[in-house]
Amino acid sequence: MNRSVSDSPSAPAPSFYLPDFCATQTVLAVVLIAELVALVLTLAREELQYGFWIDLARTSLFLLWIGLSSAAVLCYTRPVLARMSVQRASAVSLGLLVAVTLVISEVTFWLGQRWFGGLQSAMGSLFPINHATFLLRNLFIAFIVSALALRYFYIAHEWRRTVEGRARLRIDALQARIRPHFLFNSMNTIASLTRTNPAQAEEAVEDLADLFRANLRETRTQIPLKEELEVARLYQRIEELRLGSRLKVKWNVQALPMDTLVPSLVVQPLLENAIYHGIEPLPDGGTVVVSGTRAGDNLELSIANPVQKQPGGLAHAGNRIALDNIRERLELAYHGRARLDVENRGDEYVVKLTFPLVPRAALQ
């Protein structure tokens, strides 16, 4: 059975900052804002025409009309706005809100003139009389209140993103650590080698130290591909001591430009996964194939390992966490221009990394 999973590195997408105005909660917030503004406007008025409550009711009605219409417009245009840049979307939303205010003010004025204007009734005098002043005043208020509201939504959104980002970084740090199994097994191998082959034990300690140093580097560091592959080879050497002839790794990476910069620790964890989930469960072992090609401005690296045929089928939760982590770091480094694809071909599991070539000179 051929199953192919492919998705771009977009863990939590940088979502649009405006809330969904179709949601009841947001509509409720809009009503609340409209009422508060109405209250402020009525309180600030020095001469009340008909007493506080009637003035408040009149202003409320008018503002609710504007508020709910604005919510409807934003609800409808949000998908379009979400595709724009933050600045552009903000400017367009502000324009829309002011336009809604303009239209509703105009309709209100027109209603007053047409139906009640002629009558010298109480109803008639509830409507504005001076056209220009009425419109201009409303537009200014709409502009200021909308700008404040947009700013509020933006800051609230940014704050939430920072909180989420911090939580993610903590998980990052946790996942970047080497598997405890690997650490203790390696120590055990070294303990065994100290008597039987001291020279090899010494080498293994050096390799382990370098591997840990690489793991302790900040996860955002960019390093030349050559160094990244070297870290993966350190790992391979340590595992070879432990697994003996069961582990074979084939490297087809000669064609790659070794000085291109890559985020650190993207290849080694993939090799680690391939060995841990692919080779270790096989009694007779197998071969992991690492191949790299250059495709235009992109670099493609794939790591393939054999899959154990198992009736039950184990879910590899650990594997997915490592892949998510790499995806996120690729996203941070390349902003959507890199991808990580996983392909399960039944008897073979292939992880493919694609990312843009960044020559060293470009960053200096």
Binding site: P180, H181, L183, F184, N185, M187, N188, T189, I190, A191, S192, L193, R195, T196, L241, R242, L243, G244, E280, P281, L282, P283, Q308, P311, G312, L314, A315
Partner: protein, 243 residues
């Protein structure tokens, strides 16, 4: 005292062997690289103690311990692991002997002298903690003091009798002392209950025949026997087989 070392990593076995040389009154009887090998050797060598790595390819240490427990004179088992949080907690609670890698010599000597056979409750607790690999890869039957392993994928069906369960597999028929219910729970969804006394391997079903008034029977691949499907389970069986 004879010790059997079971670990898939050559350097790990090497080290245990060397440490054991330095401990009096214990000698290495043999080495195995996985659970299946360990069971074959245990029958032949009759070791007193087995040093058993948990994480191994093929059959892991926990399953091997389960099978060894079926022997008339089961060996004492000491588990060895690099890092298994859940298993360790179960070992501590149930006083099961274990060692951590890298193994210390004093600790090894101490644990060996106190090594004891696993009791049934101890085994059950370890199996539970070792999930999700609690499902066995093999079933074991006793034959002349040794264990014979039957790979689960070769089992066609289980048939319950008064006291025993008959396993019909590619290599013939055998009796085991397990309940059909526990087998059903362990191997779900690969095995399907078609009757109060029958559990069949879904992968080996050849066809489902209608043999009369709402009466169905299951035909297994490669054998002549037809197994009747109970009326109560007929709908379930048909749905599983067709879906």
């Amino acid at each position: 005292m004879k010790v059997l070392i079971v670990d898939d990593e050559p350097p790990a076995r090497e080290r245990l062997k060397r440490l054991l040389e330095e401990i009096d009154s214990f000698e290495v009887a043999g080495e195995a690289a996985n659970g299946t090998e360990a069971i074959a050797l245990a029958g032949r060598l009759a070791p007193d103690v087995v040093l058993m790595d948990i994480r191994m390819p093929g059959m892991d240490g926990v399953e091997a311990a389960r099978h060894l427990g079926q022997l008339d004179e089961p060996p004492a088992i000491i588990f060895i692991t690099a890092y298994d949080e859940y298993a360790l907690r179960a070992f501590d609670t149930h006083a099961v002997g274990y060692l951590l890698k890298p193994v210390r010599r004093e600790k090894l000597a101490d644990t060996l002298t106190r090594a004891a056979r696993l009791t049934k409750p101890q085994l059950a607790a370890i199996v539970k903690a070792a999930a999700p690999r609690a499902r066995r890869s093999h079933l074991s039957v006793r034959a002349r003091g040794e264990l014979r392993l039957i790979p689960v994928e070769e089992v066609l069906y289980f048939l319950a009798d008064q006291k025993y369960v008959t396993i019909r597999h590619r290599g013939g028929e055998d009796l085991i002392e397990e309940s059909l219910k526990s087998l059903e729970d362990e191997f779900d969804p690969d095995f399907l209950r078609i009757h109060r006394n029958a559990l069949v391997a879904v992968r080996h079903i050849a066809s489902i025949e209608r043999s009369g008034e709402g009466q169905y029977s299951v035909r297994m691949r490669g054998i002549e026997t037809d197994l009747p499907v109970s009326r109560r389970l007929a709908t379930d069986v048909l749905r599983r087989f067709r879906g």
